[in-house]
């Protein structure tokens, strides 16, 4: 891990939104380095800037000041170079396209050949365990399956980075556990660098190699925890002493961020 190159590097990042009630400091003095192959979770209460930071990495928001690079480029250049796949809170599949058609959407836009499109759709559907659902329409799938399809869509064009904004936030606990397990397997198979926004402590601890604890007003990083858990993680690792200890540290970080407001 030590020899891995830096993929995302943020230094002194500030972002202020001008609103009618005056300026809102969404991000203040954020420094973070993400190495290749990292699974980084951003956790914190609403308004702590975790989603904003993810959107800065994606080039969907522009920081007011500070520097951020993605693959050595500005986020906007990285976006134009299609350096990442983005998974939103809702699956956001087009209802008029089949599951296969939805996964083809980025491939069509990026100009892949028809045969390549078909080949890739088959491969990513396999990856998210949805083989055989290619011809179904989104409404024929459960919420969890739809979200898996949207992950497949983000994987289809083989970007090295996967950015996920509370992708399982709207799903129930059991489906969520299942998807977390699958996501880890997928991460192990594809060796992607993943940025993952959540407000669930167990989810963050279970998934991540690095947990970034954030707090609001102004949005900032209060703790960065390098997880000592092994890469191979069965679901019952969540009962281990190590797991509970990390979860404690995350909770403390969240509480500390709350106290000094």
């Amino acid at each position: 891990m030590l020899s891995q190159p830096t993929i995302i590097n943020a230094q002194g990042l500030n972002l202020t939104f001008e609103t009618n009630d005056g300026p809102v400091h969404a991000l203040k003095g954020v420094n973070l380095e993400i190495k290749k192959g990292d699974f980084v979770s951003f956790i914190g209460p609403s308004g702590c800037g975790k989603t904003t930071f993810l959107r800065c990495i994606a080039g969907l928001e522009t920081p007011t000041s500070g520097a951020i690079t993605v693959n050595g480029m500005t986020p906007d250049e990285a976006r134009r170079a299609r350096a990442y796949g983005y998974v939103f809170q809702a699956a956001g599949l087009y209802p008029w396209r089949t599951i296969g058609g939805n996964i083809k959407l980025p491939l069509e836009i990026m100009g892949f050949s028809k045969s390549e499109q078909a080949e890739r759709v088959g491969r990513v559907l396999e990856l998210v365990d949805l083989a055989g659902f290619e011809k179904k329409f989104p409404w024929q799938l459960s919420g969890g399956m739809q979200q898996r399809a949207s992950i497949a869509r983000a994987l289809a064009f083989d970007a090295d980075i996967l950015l996920m904004d509370e992708p399982f936030g709207a799903l129930d606990e059991i489906v969520r556990d299942h998807l977390n397990e699958q996501l880890l397997k997928l991460w192990a198979r594809t060796e992607k660098t993943i940025g993952f926004v959540t407000h669930s402590i167990p989810e963050a601890v279970y998934l991540s190699t690095k947990i970034v604890v954030m707090s609001p007003r102004p949005g900032r990083i209060t703790d960065v925890i390098e997880s000592p858990l092994p890469k191979e993680r069965p679901l019952d690792i969540r009962d281990s002493a190590e797991f509970i200890e990390i979860a404690h540290r995350v909770r403390d970080g969240l509480r500390a961020g709350h106290d000094d407001v």
Binding site: A58, G59, L60, R79, R80, R82, Y84, G85, Y86, F88, Q89, A90, G92, Y94, P95, W96, R97, T98, L105, P106, E108, I109, M110, F137, P138, W139, F157
Partner: protein, 306 residues
């Protein structure tokens, strides 16, 4: 199919009220005619009868009630009279005859369809302009709304006379008035439809670095289809109204509008009523056709649960 019973119930209720209304509406006429035919009528002079309401007169002359339904030029025709007139002019006449409602219907329908095509095309173009061009966004909508506040009845003769002055006659002036009425619902619906994708869906396309053209063809246009169909159903009936209105002020010799005018001017209410009903049935059929197209399209697109 579940709607058959409620629809029939309403139709029955309307027919019932209609039949009841025929008696007092036609009673004065009927009494005058009956007197000329030598029947006993009370009271005896037309002047005296004018002092009575239709209902009062009906109560005093129960023997004449049946005759109110068979007047040649009734104030309110009875349903069966309208039905017979429609049967005569739709089914019994050759469609090339100047008295055939099919012939007149086609004259109006061709203007309706041409106008609808122009209006829909114009509406979609304006909507795309409004969504993609800030200047159009700020300027077009108030004018579009203003255009619909002008009574078409006042505007139609002017348009037809002005177009006539520059040598445009026949189908096109009527179609333009149809288009004038039908572009508006299409503009409103399509603007809403093209803007219906939410921020997340637009962000998704940004993460793919999609071009604006790709955003239009792959996201905005398909997302607007359900809105378009809602607009088309309003637009097609507005088009038909436009074509009929366009026939009224210009002394058109053919079309539903011309028949209504002829019936009015020559005291043939049955002609007017038959044309009215034929127009209503045409409108219902057109809207029904678009409902069917809507269902088929949305099902093919996977947007309704089959």
């Amino acid at each position: 199919m579940k709607s058959v019973l409620p629809v029939l119930t309403i139709v029955a209720a309307i027919l019932f009220v209609w039949v009841l209304a025929v008696i007092p509406m036609n009673m004065h006429l009927t009494a005058d005619q009956a007197q000329r035919d030598g029947l006993a009528v009370s009271p005896e002079t037309p002047a005296e009868r004018q002092d009575h309401s239709g209902l009062g007169l009906s109560l005093r002359n129960p023997s004449l009630l049946g005759l109110t339904f068979v007047q040649e030029r009734p104030r309110l025709p009875s349903p069966h009279q309208v039905a017979v007139e429609m049967w005569d002019t739709i089914v019994m006449k050759k469609i090339t005859s100047k008295r055939s409602l099919v012939y007149h219907g086609w004259v109006t329908l061709s203007a309706t369809l041409l106008g609808f095509a122009i209006g829909t095309g114009l509406g979609i173009l304006l909507a795309v302009g409004i969504v993609y061009n800030r200047a159009m966004d700020m300027s077009v909508m108030p004018w579009a709304i203003a255009s619909q506040t002008i009574p078409i009845l006042a505007l139609a003769p002017m348009i037809i006379v002005m177009l006539g002055a520059i040598g445009i006659q026949g189908l096109l002036p009527k179609a333009i008035i149809s288009a004038y009425l039908s572009f508006f619902p299409v503009v409103v619906g399509m603007v809403k439809g093209l803007r219906s994708p939410d921020g997340m869906q637009l962000d998704l396309l940004r993460t793919y670095h999609a071009s604006p053209a790709q955003g239009f063809w792959k996201l905005r246009l398909p997302a607007s289809v359900p809105y378009l169909f809602a607009s088309l159903k309003i637009g097609i009936s507005a088009s038909l109204v436009g074509a009929i209105v366009a026939e009224l002020p210009t002394g058109a010799r053919a079309g539903f509008g011309a028949r209504m005018l002829v019936g009015d001017q020559y005291g043939q209410p049955l002609v007017t009523w038959a044309a009215l009903f034929a127009a209503a049935i045409t409108a219902a059929a057109l809207v029904g056709l678009f409902s069917l197209l809507e269902r088929l399209t949305l099902r093919r697109m996977g947007m309704v649960r089959a």
